[in-house]
Symmetry: C2
Subunit: 157 residues, 2 copies
DNA sequence: GAGCAATACTTGACAAGTAAAGTATCACGA
DNA sequence: TCGTGATACTTTACTTGTCAAGTATTGCTC
């Protein structure tokens, strides 16, 4: 499949006012494509990509995490996390417990069942990431990461 | 604000298994940040970023477009478009009409009121795009666009 | 130590994305 | 011309993301 520029894809008569705009559009569209692939992949285990993220964060953390810590590490707002966590708890993939130190907080940790789900997804997920990055040279991948990190550092308006 | 790498942001103990994975994560997170900024901006006109996209596509097209054409140019599936279009029509920002040539199709076009909404958003939207791209050199922006175009060309699994 | 703001969620309400099924229309072959 | 399949939506149902408001704690200040 040949590379299609964004301008081709959206068939705009008046394509882009600036390279900035083209970059922004490309970023949004590309991320959407990637997200859908991830969704399709984790659906095999009956979870969504956001639930998968929660599990991965909990696995990555050595200790149980309070709900808000999870929210901070994800891109989501807190209310969304509460629901993901509810859902995951119902399925036994994570466990929640009150913590005496600060009773406002609820600590979450991944269960062995949750770990098994992640393990089953590790290989296909790696393959997916690699398939995308395979379009780029290692240098391009590095530059891409660098550029994205810079963009995220844009100060609030 | 200093640039924070993805690894910093999510505070993973076990950061990334590969650069591919880091790139994928950076892509998803960065796009999310951008999308929220866009949402916040267009909310001033009482529309969502997807409705804004519909309006922009209709402005970009010289002629009225059938619903499915809009769906194709966006990332959305058709059912979503129907709703956006319903909503925009209720507010008088677009107009829908049956077309004698193929009565299955419904042609949509932007109204003067819709054009005015877009015009009010043009300047702030340009400013937003530029603010993001301002973190990059023009060469970096070009490379970013190129890399994203390549990634989107990844064949299906 | 009494109040008052801040924190850490949780809940409710609503827009948006997605899949699946339904409806109307068209196109094409027998 | 009479199906038969394809096309272009539309509707329905369900999940997710987000905001606003509510609740339970905590911490800080006077």
């Amino acid at each position: 499949m040949a590379t299609r520029s964004i301008a081709d894809e959206i068939k705009q008569t008046r394509p882009f006012r600036s390279r900035s705009q083209e970059a922004a559009m490309a970023l949004l569209r590309t991320a959407n494509v990637l997200r859908r692939r991830v969704d399709a992949l984790v659906a095999a285990e009956g979870i969504t990509s956001q639930q998968y993220n929660v599990l991965r964060i909990l696995r990555g953390a050595k200790a149980p995490l309070p709900t808000m810590e999870i929210a901070e590490r994800m891109i989501d707002q807190t209310p969304g996390i509460t629901r993901h966590v509810n859902n995951l708890e119902e399925r036994g993939l994570i466990r929640r417990e009150a913590w005496a130190g600060d009773r406002r907080q609820v600590l979450c940790q991944i269960t062995p069942a949750g770990l098994r789900v992640l393990e089953r997804l590790d290989a296909p997920m790696d393959a997916l990431d690699d398939a995308f990055a395979a379009q780029l040279t290692p240098e391009q991948t590095d530059h891409l990461i660098e550029a994205l990190d810079l963009i995220r550092s844009t100060p609030d308006s």
